[in-house]
């Protein structure tokens, strides 16, 4: 390490660190991404708190029993769960150094993600068609905000997966792509964890009200 000493008469010597410490590229990415996920977790916590406070205010409108279809929610949950395990398979293929197989499993994961979004949009359009719109009651506002924010995250997750399929196809499993796939892995599994909260507190508890 190089240090320069500037001495001026009457003043204590001052030291300047001219060489930066060694920060290998991407060494802090995983921790940084984890901290982003924790901040995302806070967004969802506030939306869950909103739903907990407002979820019982139907304004004489439809209640959860009138608008929720549990078999559809169960199917949606299965889609996300399958997408989690297939993403795991793609990470294993990445570890084994097989870019082709990694891309196949990524494509399967994206397909399950799209299936989830299709079912969710079908549910939303059905609810809106029977008059259960976000502006109908505080319960429905809180519901659409919470579930819609999760759906938006899944949408961006699918876009990210497609991006990674192209990236791995072009550049192979280079260190940067491995790092991106690991961040995406955290993101995707995190969304599944949020969904556990959604189906438990919004759908299942809603049916018990």
């Amino acid at each position: 390490m190089t240090t320069d000493t500037a001495t001026t008469a009457g003043l204590p010597p001052r030291f300047y660190d001219l060489e930066e410490h060694d920060h290998p590229e991407g060494s802090s990415t995983m921790l940084g991404f984890w901290i982003y996920l924790m901040s995302d977790c806070l967004i969802f916590a506030i939306l869950f708190a909103c739903f907990a406070v407002l979820g019982g205010n139907y304004a004489a409108g439809p209640s959860p029993r009138d608008v929720f279809e549990l078999p559809l929610v169960a199917l949606n949950t299965a889609m996300l769960l399958f997408s989690s395990i297939t993403y795991g398979f793609s990470m294993l293929a990445m570890r084994a150094g097989r870019p082709g197989l990694t891309r196949v499993w990524l494509a399967v994961t994206a397909a399950f993600g799209l299936a989830f979004l299709t079912i969710e949009l079908h549910e939303f359009t059905h609810m809106i068609s029977i008059g259960a719109t976000p502006q109908r009651s505080a319960f429905l506002s809180a519901f659409f905000t919470l579930v819609g924010t999760h759906g938006l995250h899944v949408t961006f997750g699918v876009i990210w997966i497609v991006t990674m399929i192209v990236q791995v196809g072009r550049h192979g499993l280079i260190a940067a792509n491995q790092r991106r796939l690991m961040c995406l892995s955290l993101f995707w599994h995190f969304l599944d964890i949020i969904w556990i909260g959604v189906f438990t507190f919004v759908y299942l508890m809603g049916m018990l009200r």
Partner: protein, 118 residues
């Protein structure tokens, strides 16, 4: 040197067995709460407690088997960030519900709620 062979040294990763165990546990821990609510073998109170318990267990299963969380990754900083977040989440959730419940209880009865008065 082949850059493709490079691995981040302490990056958390799981084995096939770990993923399959996590998946199997998740399926069971999802199916039971759905069955409890759809078939209703129990009263609403115990059902609610049970499904929340299943959710908490499933979140832990996901963190261990899918996110490969442990206290050592990144020198413990991921765990510290997680604990900090959990504390803030608990304060936000419990605080919101507590404050709003008291506000609700202390509200003047509205005309259409007159029947609730003692």
């Amino acid at each position: 040197m082949n850059e493709g062979a490079h691995h981040a040294p302490d990056a958390p990763h799981g084995s096939l067995r770990e993923y399959l165990i996590g998946f199997f546990l998740s399926v069971v821990l999802t199916a039971i709460p759905f069955w409890l609510v759809m078939a209703r073998p129990l009263a609403p109170g115990p059902t609610a407690v049970l499904i929340v318990a299943f959710a908490v267990v499933q979140i832990i299963v996901h963190m261990v088997y899918f996110l490969h969380m442990n206290a050592r990754s990144e020198g413990g900083w991921t765990m510290i960030a997680l604990i900090f977040t959990l504390i803030v989440v608990a304060i936000a959730l419990a605080g919101s519900m507590w404050v709003m419940h008291h506000l609700d209880t202390n509200m003047m009865p509205m005309p259409h709620e007159v029947s609730r008065q003692p």
